[in-house]
Every structure is written in structure tokens, then in C-alpha cells.
């Protein structure tokens, strides 16, 4: 199991209410993520997705069960620093994650706090900003950037700490389509070029489809785990969870319900074009 970076073992967690006992935000969750994977966690609001993000590097610890980062239990305070260096988290609202008044100083904040040598910090800051496409803004003031740009600065700040895994908690929720695309591309590059494991929490079905593996959460529990094709094969079930399905899968389902045989890939545009072409040739 040397290649497992993140492991949830039967994890339950509940937030504290004022007086009443709240239902668990995450319940009996077991999950393994391997090094180098690009995994999307999909679910509607309140399904427990963000709690998974906070549990993944010990920002909160389970009520029962355990979370392991490279075999280190997040409940073990002695490993806390090592765990947080291994797994970084990027949150939804970029405005809450910027600490400095100049872009490059913001990116340097993390490595400075880890006691990295100044020359090495310089190198990492430049490299991180280049990866997210924000290098030419290195001397700008963060508050004058667009939402998507700010979010990419926040991501660069995490990359500069050289984590092996980054958990993105709805990093695109507050961004416009252009900003969303830029952030998606930055995440893909981290995964492909630097080999960083990416866990990407979202409620946008189109974005989740770009991952290799999708984990679906509903009502604090993991309900599905598979490739995008496997996940969207059952259109009606996904809809019952309050989630969108791609138009392609939805059309394929309508045809199937009608008794029309449709085979092959019905998720991607090109796949569906081929599948429909076969039907039209037949008809």
C-alpha cells in the first residue's frame, strides 16, 4: 500500500451545534486515494464534501475512524506539520486566502513559514507563479486581480510549499466561466506535469467529468465511486441525488428508455456522435 497517499478508514464526523446534537456531516466514510490520481468529489450543497477536505489534512479530526496521510494518522499531533506539508488545501473564496499586499509575497508566505532558504523561496515562488500562469502579475496587488486570478495566486501559494497532494474545495464555485477554465487548467497541469495528487471537490458535473475518477457524496455518505462513464451510466440515480447529468448522457438515457439500443461512449461529444451515427445508419 506504499502508493496510497490518503486513506479514510470508516470516518464519522459531526460539527458541534449550539445545544442540539447535529447529524454527522460525514458518516462511515472509507476511501483510498493513490499517488498521482486526479479525483473529483461530487455532491450537492450539504452532502459532506467540504468536511472531507478539512479532514484530509487534519484541520479537523474524526469523531470515530481514522484519516491517514502517507500512513500518518491525522490524530497524531507530532505528525501535524508533516501532514500539512504533504496535503495542502485550497478553499472556495480566494479573498479569504490572500495574506500579503503583493502577489509574490503572498506566494512566499508558506515556504517562509516552513523555514525554507531565501534563494530556494525565490525559485519556488517564480516556478509556482509560472505554473498557474500568474508570473507576469508577480508584482501586482492581489486585491486588484479578478476572482480567477486571485484563486490561481492562492494555488501558487500552496504549490510553493511543495505538497504531494492538494485538495481543492470548490475552487471554481465563485468564478466566472473564464476563471473556472483557468483554474481547471492549472489543476490539470499540477497533476500531469508535477505529479501532484489532486482531489477536486465540486458541484459542477462538467468539471467532475474531466477527472479520471469521481466520488459521489450524498447525505454524508459515499454513494458512488468510479470513472465518469461508470458514474453517469445511471442518469436517473444521479438526478435523484440532486445532481446534473451531462446532456449527452441524458439523451442516451431517453433513447434507452424508449427501447433504442445505444452502445459505446455516450458521455463525450465525439463518443455520442459516433454512437448516434451508428443508430442513424441502422435506421
Amino acid at each position: 500500500m506504499a502508493d496510497t497517499i490518503l486513506k479514510f478508514d470508516n470516518v464519522t464526523f459531526r460539527y458541534e451545534g449550539d445545544d442540539a446534537v447535529l447529524p454527522p456531516a460525514v458518516e462511515n466514510l472509507s476511501l483510498e486515494i493513490k499517488k498521482g490520481e486526479f479525483v473529483a468529489v461530487l455532491g450537492h450543497n450539504g452532502s459532506g464534501k467540504s468536511t472531507v477536505a478539512k479532514l484530509s489534512n487534519g484541520l479537523i479530526v474524526p469523531e470515530s475512524g481514522d484519516v491517514y496521510v502517507l500512513g500518518m494518522n491525522t490524530k497524531n499531533e507530532n505528525d501535524d506539520l508533516k501532514i500539512k506539508q504533504t496535503v495542502g488545501v485550497v478553499f472556495q473564496n480566494p479573498d479569504n486566502q490572500i495574506v500579503a499586499t503583493i502577489v509574490e509575497e503572498d506566494v512566499a508566505f508558506g515556504p517562509e513559514n516552513l523555514g525554507v532558504e531565501p534563494a530556494e523561496i525565490r525559485r519556488r515562488v517564480d516556478e509556482s507563479l509560472k505554473i498557474v500562469g500568474m508570473y507576469k502579475y508577480r508584482l501586482h496587488e492581489p486585491h486588484k486581480l479578478s476572482g480567477g486570478q486571485k484563486q490561481r495566486v492562492a494555488i501558487a501559494g500552496i504549490i510553493a510549499m511543495q505538497p504531494q497532494c492538494i485538495v481543492f474545495d470548490e475552487p471554481t464555485a465563485m468564478l466566472d466561466p473564464e476563471g473556472r477554465r483557468d483554474v481547471m487548467n492549472a489543476m490539470k497541469r499540477l497533476n500531469r506535469e508535477l505529479g501532484i495528487t489532486v482531489v477536486f471537490i465540486t458541484h459542477y458535473m462538467e468539471e467532475a467529468c474531466e477527472a479520471e475518477r469521481i466520488i459521489v457524496m450524498d447525505d454524508s455518505r459515499l454513494v458512488l465511486d468510479g470513472t465518469p462513464m461508470e458514474i453517469f451510466a445511471d442518469v436517473n440515480y444521479i438526478r435523484s441525488l440532486g445532481l446534473d447529468v451531462p446532456q449527452t448522457s441524458a439523451l442516451a438515457q431517453m433513447l434507452k428508455d424508449d427501447g433504442i439500443k445505444i452502445t459505446g461512449d455516450t458521455l463525450s461529444v465525439d463518443g455520442l456522435v459516433n454512437s448516434l451515427a451508428k443508430i442513424l445508419d441502422r435506421g
Partner: protein, 288 residues
């Protein structure tokens, strides 16, 4: 004559400073009574600036906005009247809730219009009904609601003024699919029941395809295209060039059409796609 139109409307932010930006450049749009108009375009294309011009929040650098044929800035009285006749709901309106109860927040607008207490009460109840907020939630503090509920309360706060034109700036952004569906159906419902005009700014082509009767595409501070959903989505190449995309299903049908299959390219929703396939497959061989 159009109900609402703009005449060579231009607006420059920070005019006379080194940071000046032309947000609107000789924009001419026309909106008729009862339409659902969708305004689409990339960030920075001038959509939100245009919306703020339509109810007189911003003063044009050049050009005019005409409501019922009259310049909305022709007099002080006209300016005030326009604010009530054209209701504007900003992006992320849930951040603008400020009263202690849901009821008071929805009542704020009508109260400021100087309406009687009974009329205010009636309007609050009507508006809440449109957005699906039950009476039992009236005493709740807005902050105790979910994100989607807060947004609906904020929209009710504009609807309660019964504007003749309801403008919503990206009403579905940041919501999950369920929240998005609720907002879209409430907009459609509102138009169908009151016959009033609705203008929405949207990034989502799927949303636009579902509800709009007219589409205005903004690009670089100008109007690039105006037309029905059909007319605009037909030009998918042009839309892609300016960073917008057509619905996924439209791509599929455009490709099939190009490959020589006898299907229409004018398919924007899964329902249309399904009907089109059924039409082409006809009776024979469909169930092979």
C-alpha cells in the same frame, strides 16, 4: 416603439484618469413587453454595466435609455419612477440582505415606495409565493437560511416592488443544480403569470436555451448579436471565438449534420434532441 431601448449608449469608467475603461460603446438594444431577454458575454464585456444603466444607477457618458419612449433621466421624478418600474437584482444578492427577518427584508422596497401597510403586506406575501418561501419562514433571520433560500428572499425583495421590468444579474451563479432549477422556474413562472418583462444576465448557455425568448450577446463593450435562441446559437463558431460555448448537445448535432446525417443543427436541449432523433428515425427501424 419598444418598451425599453437604449440609444447609442456609451459609458466610460474613470473618464479622464489613466485607468479609464470603456465599458459600453454605442450600445443599442430593444426590449419588448413580456419578453425574457438573456444577455450573455464574457466577464468584462459590459453586461453588468448595461444593466445598471437600464434603471438609471449609472449615468451614461453618451446616449440615452428610453422607457416608454421617454429618457429615464429627463427629470428627477422620472428617474425615481424608473427605479420602481425597473427592478434590479445584483449578482450574489444574498449578501445584501440586512433586515432582522425575512418578512422585513422583502418589505423594505414596497415600504420605501410609500405604500399602505395592507398593500405592503399583500406584496410581501405575493412575492414570497413566487419565489417559494413559505409564510412560516417570515420570522426567520435571513442568515439562518441556506444559500439558495437567501437568494430567493433577495429576489423576492425586488419582485415585491412589482417592477414592470425585472433585471437579474447572474441569478443562478454559484448555486447547485437544484437551486439553479428553482430560480429558473421561478423566473419563467413570474413572467407567465404576470406578463412582465424579465432580463437576465447569464454565463450559462444551457439556462439561456431553457428560458430566453431573445438573446443579446455582448462582446468588448458592444452588442455583437441579437436574436432568438435559434438565431444566436446557430452561429456557434462565432460564439466560440469570443470565449462562449454552445450547449454540448448542440455540438453533437452540428457534428452529425456536418457528417451528412439528415438532422437539424438547431438543437439546444435534450428534449429537442430526442424529438429530432425520433423525427429522423421515424417509424421504421427505430427499435432495431
Amino acid at each position: 416603439m419598444s418598451f425599453l431601448r437604449t440609444e447609442n449608449l456609451s459609458y466610460i469608467y474613470g473618464e479622464g484618469t489613466p485607468f479609464c475603461v470603456t465599458a459600453l460603446n454605442k450600445v443599442n438594444i430593444e426590449v419588448e413587453k413580456g419578453e425574457i431577454v438573456a444577455v450573455i458575454g464574457q466577464t468584462g464585456s459590459g453586461k453588468s454595466t448595461l444593466m445598471q444603466q437600464l434603471n438609471g444607477l449609472l449615468k451614461p457618458t453618451e446616449g440615452r435609455v428610453l422607457l416608454d419612449g421617454e429618457d429615464i433621466r429627463s427629470s428627477k421624478a422620472k428617474k425615481l419612477e424608473t427605479r420602481f418600474r425597473v427592478g434590479l437584482c445584483f449578482q450574489y444578492p444574498e449578501y445584501q440582505l440586512f433586515e432582522n427577518t425575512v418578512y422585513d427584508d422583502i418589505a423594505f422596497g414596497p415600504k420605501n415606495m410609500g405604500l399602505s401597510e395592507t398593500e405592503v403586506d399583500k406584496r410581501v406575501r405575493d412575492a414570497a409565493k413566487y419565489v417559494g418561501i413559505p409564510d412560516s419562514a417570515f420570522a426567520t433571520h435571513p442568515f439562518d437560511l441556506s444559500g439558495g433560500e437567501k437568494r430567493r428572499v433577495a429576489i423576492a425583495g425586488v419582485i415585491s416592488m412589482e417592477p414592470e421590468i425585472l433585471i437579474l444579474d447572474e441569478p443562478t451563479s454559484g448555486l447547485d443544480p437544484k437551486g439553479r432549477e428553482q430560480i429558473l422556474s421561478l423566473i419563467k413562472n413570474y413572467r407567465d403569470r404576470t406578463g412582465k418583462t424579465v432580463i437576465i444576465v447569464s454565463h450559462s448557455m444551457n439556462d439561456v436555451a431553457k428560458i430566453a425568448s431573445k438573446v443579446i450577446v455582448m462582446y468588448n463593450a458592444k452588442v455583437l448579436m441579437t436574436g432568438t435562441v435559434d438565431e444566436v446559437f446557430e452561429q456557434s463558431e462565432k460564439l466560440c471565438q469570443i470565449g462562449l460555448s454552445v450547449p454540448q448537445i448542440t455540438e453533437v448535432f452540428t457534428k452529425l449534420h456536418t457528417m451528412g446525417y439528415p438532422v437539424s443543427e438547431k438543437v439546444y436541449t435534450t428534449e429537442q434532441a430526442y424529438r429530432e432523433l425520433k423525427r429522423v428515425l421515424g417509424g421504421g427501424g427505430a427499435n432495431a
